[in-house]
């Protein structure tokens, strides 16, 4: 199995294990390992870079991730103030706390997406993003009933046909990117609007004002960036089909 595949499994599996599955907190360490491991292995010479171009694109993507993180944290500090903001008389509420997971999600998604689009180009990069997203979605759809069964919770089978249709549609879009990039990009853009609408309803009850950054980062990474990459791509007829 290729190193990048192992890294994706560690990043996604660690994050979902530590958050959705109610698993132990240390599982998030797997996410860190997946993010940093390949880079450390390659920079230390234990696993060679495929070539200089791969190294350059990984470095540039890292810089993009750093910039996104700095912009995010600067914006948060502009809103919340730097240190000494919290009074001892007023205990800090959940809404005051800025979650570290949001920083991790923004940094990791920016790094991953930037690298995929740079290295593989708009269409192939978008296709790979969608394949990763659909692999995770399919794994979750299969694992959810099993986890619920183990935990003794009931599983609502009524939503199963809808889930199957969504998964088949998602894989269809992922597999159609190369042949019909712009129509697939347009459909993805509609999906982004639909998911934002769904997220708006489900987050309305939450008191966490920062949840929208996570929602935006995740939806942006999974559907908006691939949609824009597909819609804005320029065809290169001179490119070999090899």
């Amino acid at each position: 199995m290729r190193l990048s595949m192992v890294a994706v499994v560690l990043v996604v599996g660690g994050y979902l294990g530590a958050t959705l599955g109610g698993g132990p907190k240390w599982l998030i360490g797997l996410t860190g390992l997946g993010l940093c491991g390949p880079f450390i292995l390659r920079e230390s010479g234990l696993k060679p870079w495929r070539d200089d171009y791969q190294r350059e694109t990984v470095m540039t993507a890292g810089m993009h991730a750093l910039l996104a993180t700095i912009v995010l944290l600067t914006a948060v500090l502009m809103v919340k103030g730097i240190g000494g903001t919290y009074s001892q008389d007023e205990p800090m509420t959940h809404a005051d706390a800025f979650p570290a997971s949001t920083v991790l999600i923004v940094a990791a998604t920016t790094w991953g997406i930037s690298w995929l689009i740079q290295f593989w180009g708009g269409v192939d990069g978008a296709r790979r993003i969608l394949i990763i997203v659909m692999s995770v979605a399919t794994a979750l759809a299969v694992a959810t009933p099993i986890i619920l069964h183990i935990q003794g919770h009931p599983y609502n089978r009524g939503g199963l046909p809808e889930t199957v249709v969504q998964i088949v549609l998602g894989w269809g879009l992922a597999m159609s990117c190369r042949r019909w990039p712009r129509p697939v990009g347009g459909l993805l853009l509609l999906l982004v609007c639909y998911f934002f609408w769904i997220a708006r309803g489900s987050t309305a009850q939450m008191r966490d004002p920062w949840i929208w950054i996570e929602v935006g980062a995740i939806l942006g990474a999974t559907f908006l960036v691939p949609a824009l990459a597909l819609l804005l791509h320029r065809s290169h007829p001179e490119e070999d089909s090899a």
Partner: protein, 73 residues
């Protein structure tokens, strides 16, 4: 004031060298196909070592593959 721009003829030399595909050239030069695509599109400037390898594979000089073009005014 003029400035120079790096122009490459990699695609033309690849076609003239027996019509190598990007993948074949990449394998002969020991790099990924994405590197060749990006060089041909002008998105990536290869290092000296890769430029020399490409010239060797295509049987030409580095100057044949890459040239600085002055852009004026």
């Amino acid at each position: 004031m003029s400035h120079s721009r790096l122009h490459n003829n990699l695609r033309a030399w690849r076609k003239s060298a027996g019509g190598l595909t990007q993948l074949e050239l990449a394998e002969k030069a020991g790099v990924t196909r994405q590197s060749i695509i990006s060089i041909e599109r002008g998105k990536y400037r290869p290092g000296v070592e890769l430029a020399l390898k490409l010239a060797r594979v295509l049987g030409c000089r580095v100057e044949d593959l890459f040239e600085l073009k002055e852009e004026g005014a």
